[in-house]
């Protein structure tokens, strides 16, 4: 039985919180290639762009149960296995379980159960030539761990992922960070989800400190962004670094790109209100990647007069008129974002963004839709017990002109997020009331470290 090259796929070595992101990332990367590929040296180079994996694997078989895995492995061509299993080779088998801890004896049982595979080499635990991995996925809910895994995979370790890249791009080392600078790994994941490639034009309408642009420029895309906050764009104001009062004059997005040698791909950043587009009506961008404000860490704002005026941060350098901002309802942000993207993305271009979610009320229908888009993926990252954010990837499949102008109004799914409007209120209702609504000093790291220790 000939194994189709489409069955070459890669699975994360260490199941961690990014597992589901990885699967989508893989699909996006496979789609980007468009055609089947041979897993040779070139392929191994491509593996290096799988940011979520510490290592990546050549998948030999998978299934929803161990017997399915066995059937899958038995249909894998033996000539693809034998180079790594011949009698003069050494190997070891690792067992990895996501969301469950296995007893030592159970691990041994599983290794023993793989004896139907033609291992002819010798086991060497210290420095084997080949490492095989059995991976078991027990879902994502730590409070509801199934007895049997949802899916199992078996494969051979191939090459290191780009954890080193993530480390070198760590926000701690980066010149210019803000309170909401994207975790370096996630920026690259977002760029992969958006199928960002060399010579693309990428836009971030809530650019902040430019974390996402930095990741995209690494792929050779030319980047631009806008943000309503004058001081962030200019690199001024209170510093996010612990021991620093004011941001230095060289702290700006361009400097970040320069640090990574991708300055040539920096187009522009501008001070602008994303709810009021400044771009001419044309399919300008190959991808739109963004992390809109949730209204928790950074306050959501939009120009226009309103009773609800946000207090400007202290010590801002008033060089030009900073207009009065009004509260920008969360649902409007996403409706505007989807609408903007429909008008300004190329056909087939992708929109990738974070959607904040109040978990107790979340349902799939809440993900905003737009008739010009197809929903590609929806991956959750838990922030706290009652909040999370979802990485949404959408692909443009229709031009706005092709639609009946009333289409998007007719379908209630095209603005379903309205029920989530009180995200800020719901978020804070679970916290100490003393902090109050307008507290912008909430430390994201507190939430993250609480989450990590679970």
């Amino acid at each position: 039985v000939c194994v189709s090259v489409f069955q070459w796929s890669l699975v994360v070595h260490e199941f961690n919180k990014y597992f589901y992101f990885l699967l989508q990332e893989i699909k996006a990367l496979l789609a980007l290639r468009g055609k089947p590929f041979i897993p040779d040296e070139k392929f191994k180079e491509k593996i290096k762009s799988y940011y979520t994996s510490r290592s990546a694997f050549e998948l030999w078989g998978h299934g929803q149960t161990h017997s399915e895995l066995r059937a899958s492995l038995l249909s894998y061509q033996s000539e693809n296995m034998s180079p790594f299993m011949h009698k003069d080779s050494t190997y070891r088998i690792n067992i990895y379980t996501f969301n469950k801890t296995l007893e030592f004896t159970d691990r041994i049982k599983r290794i023993d159960a793989l004896d139907y595979l033609p291992f002819e080499g010798t086991v060497n635990l210290k420095s084997p030539q080949h490492i095989f991995c059995l991976l078991e996925d027990y879902g994502t809910d730590p409070n509801n761990i199934p007895e049997h895994p949802n899916s199992v995979y078996f494969g051979r370790w191939l090459a290191d992922g780009q954890r080193e890249l993530i480390h070198s791009h760590s926000v701690k080392n980066r010149h210019f960070i803000g309170n909401t600078s994207m975790d370096a790994g996630l920026s690259f994941i977002m760029a992969n989800h958006a199928k960002v490639k060399e010579n693309d034009l990428v836009f971030d309408p809530f650019v902040g400190t430019g974390s996402l642009l930095v990741a995209c420029s690494h792929f050779g895309a030319y980047v631009c962004g806008t943000d309503i906050d004058y001081n962030t764009i200019h690199g001024r104001g209170r510093s996010s670094r612990k021991n620093q009062k004011w941001r230095g004059p060289d702290e700006n997005i361009k400097a970040n790109l320069r640090q990574y040698g991708t300055e040539k791909t920096f187009l522009d950043v501008m001070v602008s209100d994303s709810s009021k587009s400044v771009w001419r009506e044309a399919a300008l961008f190959d991808a739109i990647i963004t992390d809109p404000p949730y209204g928790i860490r950074e306050s959501t704002r939009r120009t226009g007069s309103h009773k609800d005026i946000t207090k400007p941060p202290d010590g801002i350098y008033l060089e030009s008129h900073i207009p009065v901002s009004q509260a920008y309802h969360l649902s409007d942000i996403f409706t505007d974002l989807l609408n903007f993207s429909a008008h300004h993305l190329v056909m087939g271009g992708r929109l990738v963004y974070w959607l904040p979610v109040y978990r107790p009320e979340y349902c799939e229908e809440m993900v905003p839709l737009n008739p010009c888009f197809q929903l590609i993926s929806n991956c959750e990252q838990t922030l706290s017990s009652h909040t999370s954010r979802r990485l949404i990837t959408m692909e443009k499949i229709k031009e706005p002109e092709e639609l009946d102008s009333l289409t998007h109004l007719a379908d209630p799914r095209f603005s379903p997020y309205q029920g989530h409007n009180a995200f800020r209120e719901k978020y804070f209702s679970g916290l100490n009331k003393r902090r109050g609504k307008e507290d912008n000093k909430l430390d994201f790291n507190d939430v993250q470290s609480k989450n990590a220790s679970r």
Binding site: M270, V271, S272, D273, T303, S305, E319, S320
Partner: protein
């Protein structure tokens, strides 16, 4: 602000219908050296409003796009220079219909409108 960006911007002052292209009133312009990437320039050309670029460039760019520009390296180099190397550091962009000015400071345009203009 680079001229590639300028080519894509339009005035969004309320009520304005002919807000493109914005007029450039520069008080400080810089020409940087940016690595020439012919593929990127070729990809961008179809997205451009050519006449607006010619107008902004004030240089000898042909009034109409040349045929097979993808292989014309000399032409691409010219376009590259205009799109990516010329940078307006100080000045403003002016709406051609309303006259409203959007300031450019340290190379960064401020496109925010006031409450009454939005």
């Amino acid at each position: 602000m680079k001229l590639l960006t300028h080519n894509m911007l339009t005035s969004h002052v309320k009520g304005v219908t002919k807000g493109y292209p914005l007029l450039i009133k520069a008080t400080e312009v810089k020409v940087n050296e940016v690595e020439f990437n012919p593929q990127f320039v070729s990809r961008m050309i179809p997205k451009l409003e050519w006449s607006a670029l010619v107008q902004a460039a004030e240089e000898d760019l042909p009034g109409e796009l040349v045929a097979d520009y993808e292989t014309n390296e000399e032409f691409l180099k010219k376009v590259h220079r205009i799109l990516l190397e010329v940078e307006v550091l100080e000045g403003c962009l002016q709406c051609p219909e309303s006259g409203r000015e959007f300031p450019i400071s340290r190379g960064i345009p401020n496109m925010l409108l006031n409450e009454d203009e939005a």
